[in-house]
């Protein structure tokens, strides 16, 4: 069986839904036997979920206003 260190080096593959089935089974064998790595997998998944669930914040109005004014100037200069 893989050591924890070896498993963690392959963690990205384990979390990749498109990983090939042979690799998945190989890695799964470690997770089933190792409670620590089970927790690490679970909390890494949750880490990714929480980041992916955050919508980009609105750009502050003054920042947005300056962006569009700069774009207007650029477009006017090149038209």
């Amino acid at each position: 069986m893989l050591t924890c260190k070896q498993f963690l080096q392959e963690l990205n593959d384990y979390l990749d839904p498109n990983v090939d089935p042979v690799t998945k089974v190989h890695l799964e064998a470690h997770v089933c036997e190792c409670p620590n790595c089970f927790v690490i997998v679970d909390t890494t998944r949750k880490t990714l979920q929480v980041y992916r669930g955050i919508e980009p914040q609105e750009i502050p109005e003054d920042v947005k206003s300056r962006l569009w004014k700069a774009l207007e100037r650029k477009m006017a200069a090149e038209s």
Partner: protein, 215 residues
């Protein structure tokens, strides 16, 4: 042309809702409103990338502006081999990294330099989380916690993590946007994920419980 009015400085009719490729083609043909639509589509994401990489409001604003101005200037050179979004991300990342270099001087490590990712031990906090952070914290508070965790990563790691796991570019797109190899993306992503997991676990862990709370 203002974001509130959603109008462009041209009299041409607004393009109908269309895919990115059509908008790019129209913009390349001189339709400023089509370019404005592309800006509106991606401005928040580009601003988030800029803030995550530079960790500085002023620099992020400069990056936002410079990225879209450069994209407009060089639009005719965009060949369509990649998504427009990947292209604008690459411009924005380059601008953001230049800002970092200026601010940090010689201490900045280039993304092109190899880094050790395989041998260094990653300290592990093994604990289950107390419920669902999205339900336990306000949106603003959660945003602050997540931002602070990303901010502690080295630029190499937070840049890869931002593109791959926040903006959800593919490994290949991330490598292309950063001009680094696919193995480099993978190794930096792994380190970034483990480091963030560690930091968030310290924040969100169930107090007084251990791993066996799962079993």
């Amino acid at each position: 042309m203002t974001p509130s009015s959603n109008t462009a400085p041209v009299s041409a009719p607004a393009p109908a809702p269309s895919d990115e490729g059509n908008l790019v083609a129209q913009a390349q043909a001189g339709n400023a409103q089509a370019f404005a639509e592309l800006v509106k589509r991606y401005e928040r994401k580009i601003y988030r990338i800029a803030k995550n990489i530079t960790q500085n409001d002023e620099d992020a604003e400069d990056v936002l502006q410079d990225a879209f101005l450069k994209a407009y200037e060089h639009l005719s050179g965009f060949q369509g081999h990649s998504r427009f979004y990947t292209w604008i991300v690459r411009i924005a990342v380059n601008e953001a990294l230049m800002k970092l270099r200026k601010r940090k001087g010689d201490r900045f490590v280039s993304l092109d330099e190899p880094i050790d990712t395989g041998e260094e031990e990653v300290k592990r906090e093994v604990a289950v989380w107390e419920g669902n952070p999205e339900e336990q914290y306000s949106k603003e508070e959660l945003q602050r916690i997540l931002n602070e965790a990303v901010e502690t990563l080295k630029p190499d790691f937070r840049t890869v993590f931002t593109l791959r796991d926040i903006e959800e570019l593919s490994t290949e797109e991330t490598a292309e946007a950063l001009g680094i190899s696919i193995p480099a993306v993978k190794s930096r992503l792994l380190r970034a994920r483990l480091a963030l997991r560690e930091k968030l676990t310290r924040q969100f862990k169930r107090k007084g419980e251990d791993v066996f709370a799962y079993l």
